[in-house]
Symmetry: C2
Subunit: 154 residues, 2 copies
DNA sequence: TGTAAATCGGACTTTAAAGTCCGAATTACT
DNA sequence: AGTAATTCGGACTTTAAAGTCCGATTTACA
């Protein structure tokens, strides 16, 4: 239902939010989020073009969120890489005379609107602040609460 | 967001519901719904395998809804051709230890759940019974209320 | 100024969705 | 039995998404 690209973009920004305000290289992000490195590079470019992240070339460079995690919504991220595609005109290309969609596509668009609203009302900060003691991005093992960096196991 | 295949399947069944209980050939459905005929044939096969429609070969054959339009939901149709893909396990393949998803994927799955619920609670009869005077499938011109068949204009 | 670290951007390959084609099988009717 | 109407199913082509590769460019720092 959601494309790989959207999935990858979300993983990346959540990871960046988690590490904020530090910058991360795409290689680091790819490592942490299990996204193919070279493909992630493209996705990040999309996020940069849309103003969700800022990138910096050269030594010490990398990727940073362009705003506070509380000011970036899931919808911002989704729309940056692959707009949600609300249905505004008749997909059959018939004379939709402006506003009204047929009952079928009205229902479909309603569903999209619900998703859009949910995404718009959820910020990266919200995702990180989840009241449970679980860590973002699914690496919720037996509740280890430490913020572990590096790659070596213990 | 929704695939072409899902879109086509929905157009087909809505059209069938509109013409119910008469059978329609795939060629007729394709004509009416502006779906590529040969591709629609495949989609209809999927619907048939899932038990949403029944097909009949030979002269006088065609496609019919297998149940009353009030007993077929949008979700039935969607799941028949391309399951909605609720997120039940961690997409990163990490040890999701059963139930709990990370906050991010929990949100995504919540959105999917909302869509699923909306689709489950909408039947084809609901779509046709829309309180407005509009006709299914977007051919809502200047409120012509007649059920026009054939292909000639006027 | 040289070098290593990093993104950029274009070309390419792979995979899956969408679409096309057509002969085989089934069926109703005369 | 013959014929026309229909779906079935497999092979094929096309298109777009996903993924890979690598040289060019930018940057920090010794």
């Amino acid at each position: 239902m959601f494309s790989q690209t959207v999935e990858y973009a979300l993983r990346a920004v959540v990871h960046l939010a988690y590490e904020a305000p530090d910058a991360r290289t795409t290689a680091q992000i790819a490592d942490a989020t299990l996204v193919p490195k070279d493909y992630l590079a493209k996705v990040v470019q999309g996020l940069a073009r849309a103003g969700v992240v800022r990138t910096q070339r050269g030594v010490g460079g990398g990727v940073v969120l362009s705003r506070d995690p509380a000011a970036i919504t899931i919808l911002d991220v989704v729309n940056a890489v692959e707009p949600l595609g609300r249905i505004s005109t008749c997909p059959l290309g018939l004379r939709a005379h402006g506003v009204r969609l047929c009952p079928l596509h009205k229902r479909l668009d309603d569903a999209l609107a619900t998703v859009e609203a949910a995404f718009r009302s959820t910020t990266l900060a919200d995702v990180l602040a989840e009241p449970t003691e679980s860590v973002p991005l699914c690496d919720t093992g037996p509740a280890l609460k430490l913020k572990v960096r590096g790659k070596g196991p213990a």
